[in-house]
Symmetry: C2
Subunit: 210 residues, 2 copies
DNA sequence: ACCTGAACACCGTTCAAGT
DNA sequence: ACCTGAACACCGTTCAAGT
């Protein structure tokens, strides 16, 4: 598994080959099929192992439940950021060990907010989906883009394309090109996360709405 | 492009082959490379075309900005729900025509909430990431799972696995198996969406926090 | 400008045979 | 129980040649 992760880090998903991995482990390609059903399973298992490293970064006890959720979410993002190939393979209806651990931790923290029991499952999965789904959206494109052009060059290039659009058709984008050029990916992740957690905070807030 | 979408709907991403698509169009596989750089681009273009169909479903004018965002988000989910292969290919740093249109519509609606201009870009992309990322998380697994087992069988099976976990290690999951079995995918999507939009509502609310 | 189709390089996967 | 490695079936992609 470690060898698979190393190969994926170096050469990406397409670069991981049964022949190559087998050679690295000093066996034949057929041997791997004794341990794994197919390549999909191999990559999925490797991604789950990478996910597991997030728990080392996220402290087990936090002051508040919301702060704990935030720390956990950021730990997952950072780990996937270092292994872009894994981002699109960490999926939610958790079956794999570390995906299960993640879901349970989120659920435990959500329960601690005092949210009514009947809403806890839906909110827990929603947060879990946000963490893995939005991380994947932000990180996965780097596989395609990062290979050819630098991030800066890419942003400048798309900003120029946005400027050339017709303001009548794209009123928002044409006036937002500087924000695009200067934005930070991690901020985008935390912006949505905080919006979501604010919503959760309001939902658990005993103060009645206006 | 229509032929490609049809093939993807029928046989999935792996089932779409240059030879097969070429035969369907009465040419050779090499001919396709005149129109498209490689398979990745072909699938990405097909996914963007599918995304475009969401605009037909989402009414252009809504009462409120938040309601408009909600309607748009649900329209995208529903379209991807009908074309699961496309879900993981609709990515955000928008270059393709319909992805651009989506981002602009979100931005225009966000601007209408009265959110300060300097926060509009971050919030717009956050919502865009939620829509495409979380949809992908919920819908994409069906490709792998749906092929072999029914949704009900799959849920019952994972619920049983959760029940067998050690409650000391997984306190939340072990007491949440019935929610798993009875949940609705679309509800999970809207739960997080509403949380996020509630957070946005609070952020634009003139009433000061307690 | 666009199509043809044979050919190349390479893969995932299988399986009879081994230890 | 686990490994070996040749072989199968099939791809994406290229390219010289055509129209």
């Amino acid at each position: 598994m470690d060898a698979a992760v190393a190969l994926l880090d170096e050469r990406g998903e397409r670069g991981l080959t049964f022949r190559l991995l087998a050679k690295q482990l000093n066996t034949g390609p057929g041997a791997l099929y004794w341990h794994v059903t197919n390549k999909d399973e191999l990559v999925t298992l490797a991604a789950d192992q990478v996910l597991g490293r997030a728990f080392a970064a996220a402290p087990r006890l936090e002051k508040g439940a919301i702060a704990g959720l935030r720390a956990l979410a950021i730990a997952v993002f950072d780990v996937l950021d270092r292994h872009p190939w894994a981002a699109s393979h960490v999926t939610a209806p958790a079956t794999l060990p570390n995906a299960l651990r993640l879901l349970d931790r989120i659920g435990t923290l959500v329960a601690r907010t005092g949210l009514p029991a009947e809403r806890q499952f839906a909110v827990t999965t929603a947060i879990s989906y946000y963490i893995t789904g939005v991380s994947a959206q932000i990180i996965a494109p780097r596989i395609t883009v990062g290979a050819t052009t630098s991030r800066d060059a890419y942003l400048t290039q798309t900003a120029e394309r946005w400027e050339k659009l017709d303001p009548a058709d794209y009123p928002f984008l044409t006036r937002t090109t500087t924000d695009l050029r200067d934005h930070d990916d991690r901020d985008q992740y935390t912006t949505g996360l905080d919006l979501l957690l604010d919503g959760l905070n309001t939902a658990t807030d005993p103060r009645p709405p206006a």
